[in-house]
């Protein structure tokens, strides 16, 4: 400021922490309530960021941090709820301060000027008290010592950018026009038979590549089988069947794991195509048909709604095969269940030894005069004649070329039965908590699943197998 010593200087007083500051009103443009600044990276601590003041983008400076250093300790109860817009040589700056107090009028002679000192480096980190650097001096007002800010020094804190065409400073304006806004959503693109489909990424739990999918006996075509995923048996469905495409049997492949309500299963796909970010303008919804598609290039890809996949009809078909999702509770004693393990059609099966009376071999089977269920004949055991069930046929496997060497004698609570198999493997022990029971209501011949030696073990329901043949037994 260059004024004659007796010319009055109109000042505005304001607090910064517990000190009182003043600035020449000639430089003051506006006083505002403090707002949140948009942060700027790579700036010193005293720069809060950028603010919008009546459509102008201005940098906002924390005056306390600037003059007292960034390590200043804010006294309890102090607030910074005022912004002073200051204009020096055409440059607008915003300073965040405490409270504006009052105006004062002084003359130059009232000012106790600072001793000349070497200016610190411009824009250096303000890590110590730099009050003298940014002030002209002090004066007394109403028993308070007031620090008079040097507007010229403040201007040097932030340099203005002069663009081509004479635009000065960093003034901005708020856009008034509305703009099209699009949002991205992630979609997983898969191939089912020969067609591409999309899953909303939020619907996808995970994607797995399975080496082996164990088909289930007499399972509906919707069910590809059961596979072990991280040693847990998971039901795998043929997505092709669910979406109306041609289903080809597969014993391995990529699956999309999904969760819908209490359904947690894998959907077998032909191929995983990729992931795409789709804008909302590319999404088409036909509310009448309940169809959602996405436009990719010039192709419309149908979006699969996982909630609509599982109709009541489908649920009825698949639930009997759905393993329980057992919680792994804290174990005190691990019970083990003994099973007789054997193989059939390349898959491993187990029978609870409690249901088994004995295993016999080298038996002559007397065929029945007429066909009854899956009973292939009778055999003599301990002076009695018991019916023998062809287990291959019972479980839906081709039985023409089956070679039966052993017969597992079981009891269903009423009668003894022989289950004809190729041969037993061994007796194994499985932790009870590693056995995942299937839904009991509509169970067929499978009572549970487990894993053994890295492979799936399907545990058969002896009672159900025998019950299906009971009414035909005439011995």
């Amino acid at each position: 400021m260059k004024k004659s010593s007796d010319k009055p200087i109109e000042l505005i007083l304001f607090s910064v922490l517990d000190r009182v500051f003043a600035i020449d009103q000639e430089y003051l443009v506006e006083v505002l309530e403090s707002t949140v600044a948009s942060q700027l990276p790579f700036v010193p601590d005293y720069v809060d960021g950028l603010i919008n003041v009546n459509g102008h983008i201005l940098p906002q400076v924390d005056l306390a941090a600037l003059v007292f250093g960034s390590d200043y300790i804010r006294p309890l109860g102090s607030k910074f709820h005022t912004v002073l817009i200051v204009c020096v040589e055409g440059v607008n700056l915003a300073f965040r301060v405490g409270q504006v107090q009052e105006s004062a009028t002084i003359v130059e002679a009232d000012i106790q000027k600072n001793k000349p000192a070497r200016k610190s480096k411009k824009n250096a980190k303000s890590d110590k008290d730099q009050v003298d650097e940014y002030s002209i001096g002090k004066f007394k007002h109403n028993e308070n010592q007031v620090i008079l800010l040097d507007a010229d020094a403040l201007k040097d804190v932030i340099k203005a950018n002069e663009t081509v065409g004479g635009k000065q400073g960093f003034l901005g304006k708020v856009a008034e026009q509305k703009h099209d806004e699009e949002k991205f959503q992630g979609y997983l693109i898969v191939k089912v038979s020969d067609n591409e489909y999309a899953f909303a990424l939020n619907d996808v739990y995970e994607i797995n590549v399975l080496d082996t999918i164990y088909p289930q006996p007499r399972a509906p075509v919707h069910i590809a089988g059961v596979s072990l995923i991280r040693e847990e048996p998971r039901l795998i469905l043929n997505l092709s069947e669910l979406v109306g495409e041609q289903t080809n049997a597969a014993s391995a492949g990529s699956v999309v794991m999904i969760q819908s309500g209490d359904i947690f299963c894998g959907l077998l796909i032909s191929k995983l195509c990729g992931l795409e970010m789709i804008s909302e303008h590319q999404i088409k919804v036909d509310k009448d048909k309940g169809l959602k598609t996405i436009l990719r290039g010039d192709t419309l890809t149908k979006v699969i709604d996982i909630n609509e996949l599982f109709t009541d009809k489908v649920l009825k078909l698949i639930k009997p095969y759905m393993p329980d999702q057992k919680a792994m509770d804290e174990k005190i004693i691990i019970k083990q269940v003994e099973m007789v393990r054997f193989e059939m059609n390349g898959s491993a099966y187990g029978l609870n030894v409690k249901k088994i009376h004995r295993v016999v071999s080298d038996k002559t089977i007397e065929p029945l005069l007429s066909k009854h269920g899956c009973i292939m004949g009778t055999m003599e055991l301990e002076g009695r004649v018991i019916p023998v069930i062809n287990l291959y046929e019972q479980l839906g496997y081709p039985a023409e070329d089956a070679v039966f060497r052993e017969y597992i004698v079981v009891n269903d609570g009423e009668n003894d039965w022989g289950l004809a198999i190729n041969e037993t493997d061994q007796i194994i022990k499985i932790d009870e908590n590693k056995i995942d029971a299937v839904n009991d209501k509509d169970m067929k011949y499978v009572s549970a699943f487990s894993s053994y030696n890295g492979g799936l073990l399907t545990i058969l329901n002896v009672d159900a197998i025998c019950k299906d043949n009971r009414h035909t037994a005439t011995v």
């Binding site: 720069v47 919008n52 983008i57 340099k159 663009t163 635009k167 304006k173 703009h179 991205f184 992630g186």
Partner: protein, 138 residues
């Protein structure tokens, strides 16, 4: 004239990238190996964690990686999240203050969003920024 921009969020920083430079947006999963290079389309390309550069420390969770291009060169940028696409007129951008700080290496303009309450920074193509490309060649 309207140009399309990908609006990206890197923690507290909102950024705009000209969509003409963007080759692809990929997800970063726990399996994605993001060191100084990433594998992309059978080639190794340099990777920069843009969020980490802006906030000064390792971010909690970058969800997306944006592959940008300049001629035949590519660069992978780790960002918090891709939020949306916006069409913005050139005239609606404003100059940033020349504060002699490195942010001018990364941003060239500002756009006021949410009725002027939030400032969104327009990114430069980092493949054209010497301060960035020099670090990649070290």
């Amino acid at each position: 004239m309207f140009n399309k921009y990908i609006h990206v969020q890197c923690e507290e920083y909102s950024l705009l990238l000209d969509i003409r430079w963007v080759e692809e947006v990929i997800n970063i999963t726990s399996d994605t190996d993001v060191s100084s290079e990433v594998s992309w389309r059978k080639q190794k390309i340099p990777f920069i964690d843009l969020t980490q550069i802006l906030i000064g420390h390792k971010p909690k969770n970058n969800k997306h990686c944006i592959i940008i291009k300049d001629d035949e060169k590519h660069l992978a940028l780790g960002v918090g999240q891709v939020a949306q696409i916006q069409s913005i007129k050139d005239d609606d951008f404003e100059d940033l203050p020349n504060l002699d700080f490195p942010f001018n290496d990364y941003f060239d303009k500002a756009y006021m969003k949410d009725s002027g309450k939030q400032c969104v920074y327009r990114m430069r193509n980092l493949l054209q920024v010497k301060a960035v490309t020099n670090k990649l060649t070290k």
